[in-house]
């Protein structure tokens, strides 16, 4: 996103569903600062653990679907 010209990156609360949120947060902050430095990007991206897993919409119960909320 930074390479495409963004001024910054907003990190959502999903980061807390990753294996090591603090380490991942630090890596994201440094990646925004050093977005044009492949060597640093490679270094800070090591051993971050699992990211947040996506959830398949077909596995959600109907009451958990956003489309049905507030109806």
């Amino acid at each position: 996103m930074m390479q495409l010209g963004a001024d910054g990156v907003f990190v959502g609360s999903g980061i807390f569903k990753s294996e090591n949120p603090a380490k991942r947060a630090r890596a994201i902050v440094l990646a925004v600062t050093y977005y044009n430095d492949p060597k640093i990007l490679a270094e800070i991206s090591k051993d971050l653990g699992e990211p947040m897993r996506g959830i398949d919409v077909r596995q959600l119960a109907p009451q958990e679907l956003l489309a049905t909320r507030g109806v």
Binding site: V29, V32, T33, Y34, D37
Partner: protein, 190 residues
């Protein structure tokens, strides 16, 4: 003249635009080697604890302090002024401690309390400076070697100078008035 702008976080791009408009070579500084050949440094506005942490992680902290002691001109705007000072409240990282001032962070309240005001700056002469304060700090205590360049109408210092070190609580890079940048460049050239 080659001016570095600390580009770890904050509004460095706006400072670089002003410098280039003035015909000055401007470079982004993110690591110690970026300081090579740089004659002066601007520390922009942003979030002071974040910039302070990145100063440590990047290895730039001792480099900048060393260059300042050798006489390099440095100007901090907003968060940059906080970091140049000796002491600030609720700052989770040590400031650089180069200007003998005590700073109060976020002295006006929340974002909705940000404002613009015309300030008399005798050093710049002529018409007042339109000063943009964005969740801005103020200077609460000034040491003996520090000159106050501008004050709010209530007397609170918001622009200070100690030798070749300059601090402003507001953001001259966000207006079309380039006099503060030109003043800083004149300090750097001397």
């Amino acid at each position: 003249m080659r001016v570095g702008v600390l580009a770890l976080q904050g509004d460095f791009a706006e400072h670089i635009q002003v410098l280039r408009r003035l015909g000055v070579e401007a470079v982004e500084v993110r690591k110690p080697s970026d300081l090579e050949g740089v004659n002066a440094l601007i520390i922009p506005g942003g979030e002071s604890t974040t910039i302070g942490r990145l100063l440590t992680l990047s290895g730039l902290r001792p480099e900048i302090t060393g260059r300042a002691l050798e006489g390099m001109a440095i100007w901090g705007t907003c968060a940059g002024m906080i970091l140049l000072g000796k002491e600030a409240d609720r700052l989770l990282e040590a400031p650089l401690g180069l200007i003998d001032i005590k700073v109060e962070r976020n002295a006006f309240g929340r974002q909705v309390d940000s404002f613009e005001v015309d300030l008399e700056v005798p050093k710049l002469g002529g018409r007042p400076v339109r000063a943009v304060f964005i969740r801005a700090p103020v200077v609460r205590e000034v040491g003996p070697g520090v000159e106050v360049l501008a004050r709010l109408p209530d007397g609170t210092p918001v622009a200070v100078q100690q030798g070749k070190l300059l601090g402003t609580a507001f953001h001259p890079e966000l207006t079309d008035d380039t006099r503060f940048h030109e003043y800083f460049l004149s300090l750097a050239e001397n």
